[in-house]
């Protein structure tokens, strides 16, 4: 069970008595984060049965109503029910946030590990990443929509691509430090195969910064999705997402703050939950930290 621990320290670490999930279960931060996320997922799944109305139904005569018994979270500029839009919005917003973060982390980490470790590839790969960073997401989104059609997939790809070089750069930076560590050099000298070195020694050390970056990407993705829909390159606006609710509320923010407040709070809670899980995850996965706690 010490796969993740550097081999040099394996002797020092006490063997874990319980499995990974057992450890995670005992971490209060992970539990709290998981519960909140689970609640959000359940809310998203059960949206139609949570006293909601059709989130796309316009009633222009009832626009910008303040929160009341009829409109729990008020109504938006087209007279749609904000409560229903927030509840339904959880579906796409959670999906976009989590998917983009996962994809960006997976691809970025892979690229970063390879670039950081294989000196020959470093220059080429990183220059390609530099170039990728220069292409604005909005342009990418508009072009992708041209090639297919405005859909969730195009939006996710358009948001993910500019994030990949950032993750890659971060991971590569850490790899550059780690690969000079004595225990890694020792592992290389003892003939350990490259993938194993990366997996055993390098990856665990990138987890802490990656989780921070990951939560940031997840939160940013939800907001970027909003900017894209606002500019006409995102999820069709009739489909509610927290992001496009906030983007549409921007014009009326000072006179109808509830249009932004409720989706904003939901977003903050989601990000907070992801963070708590992330922190707990790191503490559990990183044996050196675990030792200290």
């Amino acid at each position: 069970m010490t796969v993740l621990a550097p081999s040099g320290e394996a002797l020092l670490a006490k063997p874990r008595r319980v499995g990974l999930f057992g450890q995670l279960r005992r971490n209060p931060a992970v539990i709290a984060g998981a519960v909140v996320l689970a609640v959000l997922v359940v809310v998203a799944a059960l949206a139609p049965w949570l006293h909601t109305v059709d989130p796309e139904f316009l009633k222009p005569r009832f626009r910008l109503r303040a929160p009341s018994a009829a409109y729990w979270f008020g109504s938006d500029a087209l007279g749609r029910d904000n409560y229903s839009r927030v509840v339904y919005g959880a579906r796409i917003s959670l999906f976009v946030g989590v998917t983009v973060a996962t994809l960006a982390l997976l691809l970025g980490t892979t690229i970063g590990l390879v670039a950081g470790y294989v000196r020959l590839l470093d220059a080429i790969v990183m220059r390609v990443m530099d170039g990728l960073m220069a292409i604005p997401g909005i342009l990418l989104a508009i072009a992708m929509i041209a090639l297919s059609k405005a859909s969730l997939t195009t939006v996710i790809v358009a948001i993910t691509i500019p994030e990949i070089p950032r993750v890659a750069r971060l991971v590569r930076g850490v790899v550059l430090t780690i690969r000079e560590e004595p225990y890694v050099e020792a592992a290389i000298a003892s003939g350990t195969r490259l993938p194993l070195i990366l997996w055993r020694h390098v990856l665990p050390n990138t987890i802490a910064p990656l989780i921070v970056q990951g939560t940031y990407i997840a939160a940013a993705a939800v907001l970027t999705e909003a900017i894209l829909s606002f500019l006409g390159a995102g999820v069709p606006t009739e489909i509610p997402t927290w992001g496009n609710m906030m983007a549409e509320g921007r014009r009326v923010f000072q006179i109808a703050p509830w249009t932004i407040f409720f989706p904003g709070v939901c977003l903050a809670v989601t990000v907070f939950a992801i963070n708590m899980m992330g922190d707990g995850l790191r503490d559990t996965l990183d044996p050196r930290l675990a030792k200290r706690l």
Partner: protein
């Protein structure tokens, strides 16, 4: 080291070439038609067709690309299709405001965030740590425009201390220049402070568990010295990466902040140009960006060697 820098500088050329080609293709594949935009809403299809022919947009993509490349080799980025102004002048004009805002934001964010992160790591698990982390989560999730309007309402409209909008070049007075930058900097910094503080905390926390830190403690080295000289220094690489990413993002322009505070920077220029399909501007801007990113990333890589002498190139 010099050879490394030279090699990296040479590498800009293929990167820019690649980016130029990709962007050119993306643009020509995108729907939307500059000719239709130029002609306006009431124009007939025939009129649009003729304008397209006049602009040479009806030629095969390769021919257009070749023409642009030829122009580029002569050092000419072309003129905006809309305003007819030279692209280079337009980009130059928008660069000042963006650079000013990027500088103030990064300086302010680093000054605030790094100490916060170190303290949070040092006081790991206490209420100080929790409040820093709690605030940073809020920092992530508040939309930038909400922060912007909030500052404007409180400080500009209510207290009447600062202007609502606009950018004044420094040549018109440093006071005027700074007073217009305070609110956008505060707005934009929140998200960077949140990110840098968290990253600092995470990295320092990790180092604090290392054996040599414990050795230092055991030898009676003062807490401050341990934090600054051992922990922070060794945690610097990911922190520098994140700061570098931040600079890159800021140079790329921050559309929302720029539009809320009416700062005529590169971000707004890019989005306006994309939405108007002003091909020469988009191509020029992205070319400049790709060069800038190569330079920034070179700077970051050099910073690694400063903070972590073990890293060699």
């Amino acid at each position: 080291m010099a050879a490394f820098i030279l090699k990296r500088l040479l590498a800009t050329i293929p990167v820019m070439g690649m980016v130029a080609m990709v962007v050119f293709l993306i643009l020509r594949l995108s729907p939307g038609d500059p000719a239709a935009i130029l002609a306006g809403d009431a124009a007939t299809p025939e009129m649009i067709e003729q304008i397209r022919a006049n602009l040479g947009l009806d030629r095969p993509i390769l021919v257009q690309f070749g023409a642009w490349l030829w122009q580029l080799l002569q050092g000419d980025l072309g003129n905006s299709l809309l305003s007819l102004q030279p692209v280079s002048a337009t980009i130059g004009r928008c660069f000042g405001p963006t650079l000013s805002l990027a500088t103030t934001t990064i300086v302010f964010s680093v000054i605030v965030a790094v100490p916060l992160g170190v303290v949070a790591a040092w006081k790991h698990g206490t209420w100080i740590d929790r409040s820093v982390m709690g605030l940073s989560v809020v920092g992530f999730s508040v939309p930038v425009f909400v922060l912007g309007y909030g500052w404007i309402y409180a400080i500009a409209l209510w207290l009447r201390l600062l202007p609502v909008q606009g950018f004044v070049p420094i040549t018109e007075g440093i006071g005027l220049f700074l007073s217009h930058l305070v609110l956008p900097t505060l707005t934009l910094s929140v998200i960077f402070i949140a990110l840098i503080a968290r990253m600092t905390r995470a990295s320092v926390l990790e180092i604090l568990t290392e054996d040599y830190i414990r050795t230092a403690h055991a030898k009676g080295v003062s807490e401050r010295r341990v934090l600054v000289h051992h922990a922070l220094r060794n945690a610097a690489v990911p922190i520098v990466s994140v700061i570098g990413i931040g600079i890159a993002l800021l140079i790329g322009g921050v559309v929302v902040t720029e539009s809320v505070f009416n700062i005529p920077g590169l971000g707004r220029l890019t989005v306006d140009a994309v939405l108007a399909r002003d091909y020469p501007i988009i191509q020029g801007v992205i070319l400049v960006f790709s060069a800038a990113y190569v330079f920034i990333n070179l700077g970051i890589d050099l910073a690694y060697t400063v903070f972590d002498p073990r890293i060699r190139y």
